[in-house]
Amino acid sequence: MEKRPSGDPSLCGQCHDEIAANFRKSLHYTTTGLKSGVSPRFSKEEAGTFAGKVFPKACNSCHASCGDCHLKSPAIGGVSAGLLQRHRFVKRDEGKTCALCHGGRVYPEFTGEYGGTPDVHYQKGMICLDCHSKSESHGDGSVQASRQERKERPSCAKCHPPGKETSEKAKSAHAVHGTKLSCSACHSAGPYRNCYDCHLGKGAEARPGFILGRNPRDPKTVTTLRVIPTVRDTFASAGIRMEKYDALPNYWGTAPHNIKKRTDRTRSCESCHEEKELFLRKEVLLPGGSKANEGLIAVPKSLK
């Protein structure tokens, strides 16, 4: 019996040729985003070792198949929740598909099951594909190195354009902070999952946290940061020392899916400008972390 009939999109491509052709190049299929995310830490030689030894066995071993989203729940840790609607193919069933592969951080934060309150969009009946386009799932035919290169991406401003605020307070807050902060910096409801010490020997650990700092991709903007659990010896067993480990920080800009209209930061200027404890500071940087981390420190101006 064929274990993953749609593991190769050719079968589905017999009828859905355009989708299958796009999907072959999509990040869901290639998982290239995982490679792109860590590669700047490697020397040329290490990059070759990673591409040959690590990537195919680890990151790329769990790429999505057509059936993982349209027929049965994807297997996580070798276990699948089974068929979605008996043997019927379905267009979408995000709670049983997206939710499982993205079930470590995104989905439980979105539904409030991670320990906070549900994202306001979930509260109002919206789920994954109400914001994320089909082209994000299937690809658009172009080869992309990471999510950042996608043409169609969710954007808060698409539905909430600046200038359309109903209150003067929101209007002025957005006018003052709009180009300096990401939306999530103010509207993320609270702690989200951060993973630490991947492959450090004592095992990885996940704990809630809320970190504000400069966006590594756009240092002029302050955003919510999430810890990247890659430590110096994550790939040591494959003979990769990560010679350029300090090229990337240990924190990466993130869009926590726990958005609320009102948060402590939208209610009070003091929570950022006086208390400041949510901001990345030298004394809380990860011990032994990347030298690039210090570049993410942002100190908000005092109100006085």
């Binding site: 995000e94 709670g95 049983k96 539904t111 409030g112 549900p118 979930y122 509260q123 109002k124 009102r262």
Partner: protein, 300 residues
């Protein structure tokens, strides 16, 4: 003049319509036949509190989806709390609910938690100042089992014109409960082993109960199918533990303010006890305060 004569009756009817709708008699425990017959009435708003994924798969025609987690949030490290008034009243308004709207809560009824989620949202809406709130008996499970019509539409509502106002007498704070120990009837709605103090949930700091409280578990309100038990059984249980004086002051609590809503709903809304408040912070808040008295290993 002739035109006026023709227009006048239409005008009178048009003016009378809202009055007819707002006079709709909403049962507190709504059965599936009533909802099928009246669900499309403009005075009725059906609020489905299941997860959006479940709602999208099929729901009562005309229902809107406002997930349970929107009505009961984590605040100050306490689970299942009222949202801040400003947020709650905005949520009610965004759900197209006016003070006089007849709201029917629909949700799952598989477990006791599911069942009291319905009554917890009913309490929240009553707190928010909505006058008429009913709960679908047996929840969506019964609607589905009765093979009632299903819809997969988007289920959106236009926002209400105005905001409601909070109805604070439904809510008790820790200080209120402390002041009423030995004076009001305090009802612990958890299961007997929690009341007795041999069990506790991990997030509750201490086992035991509020002194002089009485035990009436909310799990006993429902049948195994998730419907409300017959009225005579509910009335007898209430009379046996709370007493027959419907003017007596009653405070209900549990671990987080969710289970307790079951007996709040039955006592206050169904049986007509006139002075019933729910302690939203419940044991999670009470037991965390070392000064708050607790007793255990006794039934009295």
């Amino acid at each position: 003049m002739k035109l006026w004569k023709r227009v006048l009756p239409i005008l009178v009817l048009a003016l009378a319509l809202p009055a007819v709708s707002s006079a709709l008699d909403l049962p507190k425990i709504v059965n599936t036949d009533w909802l099928e017959k009246n669900g499309a009435d403009p005075a009725v708003r059906i609020v489905d509190i299941r997860k959006p994924e479940e709602f999208k798969a099929g729901h009562v025609p005309g229902a809107i989806n406002v997930f349970y987690g929107a009505w009961a949030v984590k605040r100050n490290n306490l689970d299942n709390q009222l949202p801040e008034d400003e947020e709650l009243l905005e949520l009610v308004q965004d759900s197209g609910i006016e003070k006089t709207t007849a709201v029917v809560i629909v949700g799952k009824a598989d477990t006791t938690t599911d069942q009291v989620n319905l009554t917890r949202v009913a309490w929240t809406l009553r707190y928010a100042g909505v006058a008429k709130v009913g709960v679908l008996d047996g929840g969506f499970n019964k609607w589905s089992a009765d093979k009632k019509p299903m819809s997969t539409d988007a289920g959106k509502a236009a926002a209400a014109k105005g905001k409601t106002s909070p109805n604070r007498p439904y809510l008790a704070a820790k200080e209120d409960v402390l002041a009423k120990v030995g004076k009001a009837t305090i009802v612990d709605t958890r299961m007997p082993d929690f009341f007795f103090g041999v069990s506790k949930l991990p997030f509750v700091a201490r086992a035991g109960r509020i002194p002089q409280s009485v035990n009436l578990p909310s799990a006993w309100i429902f049948t195994k199918e998730g419907a409300f038990k017959p009225m005579e059984d509910l009335e007898a249980m209430a009379a046996g533990v709370v007493g027959k004086d419907k003017a007596a002051e009653v405070l209900v609590y549990c671990d987080t303010g969710r289970l307790a809503s079951g007996w709040w709903f039955v006592l206050s809304e169904v049986l007509g006890y006139g002075n019933v408040r729910m302690y939203d912070g419940s044991s999670q808040e009470w037991a965390a305060d070392a000064k708050a008295p607790m007793v255990k290993y006794t039934w009295k």
